[in-house]
Subunit: 344 residues, 2 copies
DNA sequence: CTGAAAGCGCTTACAG
DNA sequence: CTGAAAGCGCTTACAG
């Protein structure tokens, strides 16, 4: 038999004060005298009073809790984003409830339904791969911030990186070290970020008077390591083999690097390779891979920051806002054509 | 101005029924007639009634919410565990609120304090590195399940793998392929799981009449890739170099592999390498690394399962229970001494 | 099968 | 500076 928890009322009885006074004293309300606050807090500690925040949330209609919808938690990018969200939210006294959509629209719909009843104060979401309309988000009565996979042609707050410009930067880096036949391993272009990386690659070529060759572009479904291997092998069979490969993520960059290495091509001398995301593996594999820092952790922080600002906005004009984080190109050995030392 | 949400009472007025009847109808209570349930649910849908689960939680003193304390979300092992927890909890209609201790005891203490007020129904925790006593967990009025880093000499529910036996298995695998001078890259032995891996390594040597050589054991603080490189370089300087290395995680296994490869040793011919955890990198790096599957995802599922069972246990005898998951040795190229094909 | 009533533990507008 | 009172939206033991 658990013993009943001490309540405000118990404290009030004990101290011959009104529950309202206790409540204000605990909340450090300015109207309460310092003397009263002192004895209340002392007694609270003595009796082991723990405020029931569910009661408080219920009464105030505010849970200080954020709902997060991610495709999968165990994808490194998303775990970094979540980490950034938690970090920021924790400091702002919010907590973070996490759901995985598993890239299923049905599941996303159900999660949104759950979040409506749970009365979170706001939601951060990365759309599932299957999501093609946003009606379910429209119904929500709390602010929503999207990150990474964000709705298109839809008024909403978003946090993203500049994929298009980043892809230009990456491709032009290959051009700058002398690559002439630059290949691209692309993600599914139905996903806007991968489309943007593809378009950036093309734009960079065009801008630098290089032709866009369709056999130098390979598409994958989900940019997996295994798919990357297949793409790289196809490049290997071409008459005009690429001398540089821009991959839409680091896994496929590792694939490309290993496939060409195994076929006795030197990296970066014969083929330079560049990835995207700055996954841990990119700086462990030999040679270390040049990549684009995708700012995952900062993305989480920015999303939490934006969301909490919108929640706490006094005036009801919740305006949508899009934050674009600037990426950095992290240059490592896989694109250092002129340098031949062992320490990149 | 947001419009007020529809409540049970609104439905009751609308239908000329008592709120209690509505409540029971929505909850599919057996005492309510099918006819009534039908009109209630129809009206609920029509008016867009969304139950306020905060009110319900408050009334029932049950939140169907689990608190999770992990050192860091962005460590792959923990993100897998969380994924397993979320997966199981979601199916059981619980949701999952996550906190990062950042391996700080102070932060862990504060999180436990927050979780007390938040009235989660149960807690899953991996202890911070700094945690050396468990008083703060004792105070909790809800069931707690620990995983991975669990309290010692303390009655509690735990989910762990058999680190000691796994280390024996790994070391004996090296012995079985003919290794005679087996080295170990160890984690901090203050952490029980790393101590167990070290002890398993020693036990396997002793059992097989091999000497324990102290210069073949290198200790790290946190088993980082960089530390692993240093350890491996020290092994490289020894007169009697190791012909097999058992590393307490996969990052240091990658270090060992790369350091020896760079020094022109062949893996596994000259040195066999075995890791621990089955991180994604272990099956990408060349040669692919033999490792111990640490069952992270299943650990999360088992922890959630155990916790929810304890929460829903009718009788109050909440007995502590320890679940030990069996690991598997995943044999890959880095220890295949006799096989010399390219496809492991 | 349905209803009336009490109450979960807080907070807050109002009054003094 | 403190108090009395109402009420947030549900659920449940009790009654019929």
């Amino acid at each position: 038999m658990k013993k009943r928890r001490i309540t405000l009322k118990d404290l009030a009885n004990e101290l011959n004060l009104a529950p309202s006074t206790i409540s204000r004293a605990i909340a450090n309300h300015p109207a309460i005298s310092e003397a009263t606050k002192k004895i209340v807090n002392q007694k609270a500690k003595e009796l082991g009073f723990i405020p029931n925040s569910i009661a408080s949330s219920f009464r105030k209609k505010k849970t200080t809790s954020l709902g997060i919808i991610v495709p999968r938690i165990d994808i490194h990018f998303h775990s970094l984003v979540i980490s950034g969200i938690e970090e920021f939210a924790y400091k702002a006294s919010y907590n973070v409830t996490i759901f995985q959509s598993k890239d299923s629209l049905d599941r996303e719909l159900e999660i949104v339904r759950i979040l409506q009843t749970k009365m979170v104060d706001g939601i951060i979401a990365c759309l599932s791969l299957e999501t093609d309309n946003y009606e379910h988000f429209k119904k929500l009565e709390v602010p929503v911030v999207f990150y990474d996979r964000v709705p298109e042609n839809y008024e909403a707050s978003k946090v993203v990186i500049n994929d298009f410009e980043s892809a230009i930067k990456a491709t032009e880096h290959l051009i700058s070290i002398g690559c002439k036949r630059i290949a691209h391993i692309a993600g599914n272009p139905a996903t806007s970020i991968f489309k943007a990386r593809l378009e950036g690659y093309k734009a960079a070529l065009t801008k630098n008077n290089l032709p866009i060759k369709h056999n130098l572009i390979e598409y994958t479904k989900e940019l997996s390591y295994e798919e990357g291997v297949k793409c790289a092998k196809r490049f290997l069979k071409l008459q005009g083999k690429p001398d540089g490969i821009f991959c839409a993520n680091d896994y496929t960059a590792v694939s490309a690097l290993q496939v060409f290495k195994k076929a006795n091509y030197e990296i970066p001398k014969d083929v330079a390779v560049i990835g995207f995301s700055n996954y841990p593996i990119s700086k462990i594999i030999e040679p270390k891979i040049t990549t684009v820092n995708d700012r995952a952790f900062e993305m989480g922080q920015a999303a939490a920051n934006l969301l909490i600002r919108q929640i706490e906005e006094k005036n009801e004009i919740i305006s949508s806002e899009t934050i674009v984080l600037e990426t950095q190109l992290i240059i490592r050995k896989s694109t250092k054509k002129n340098i031949h030392t062992n320490t990149p």
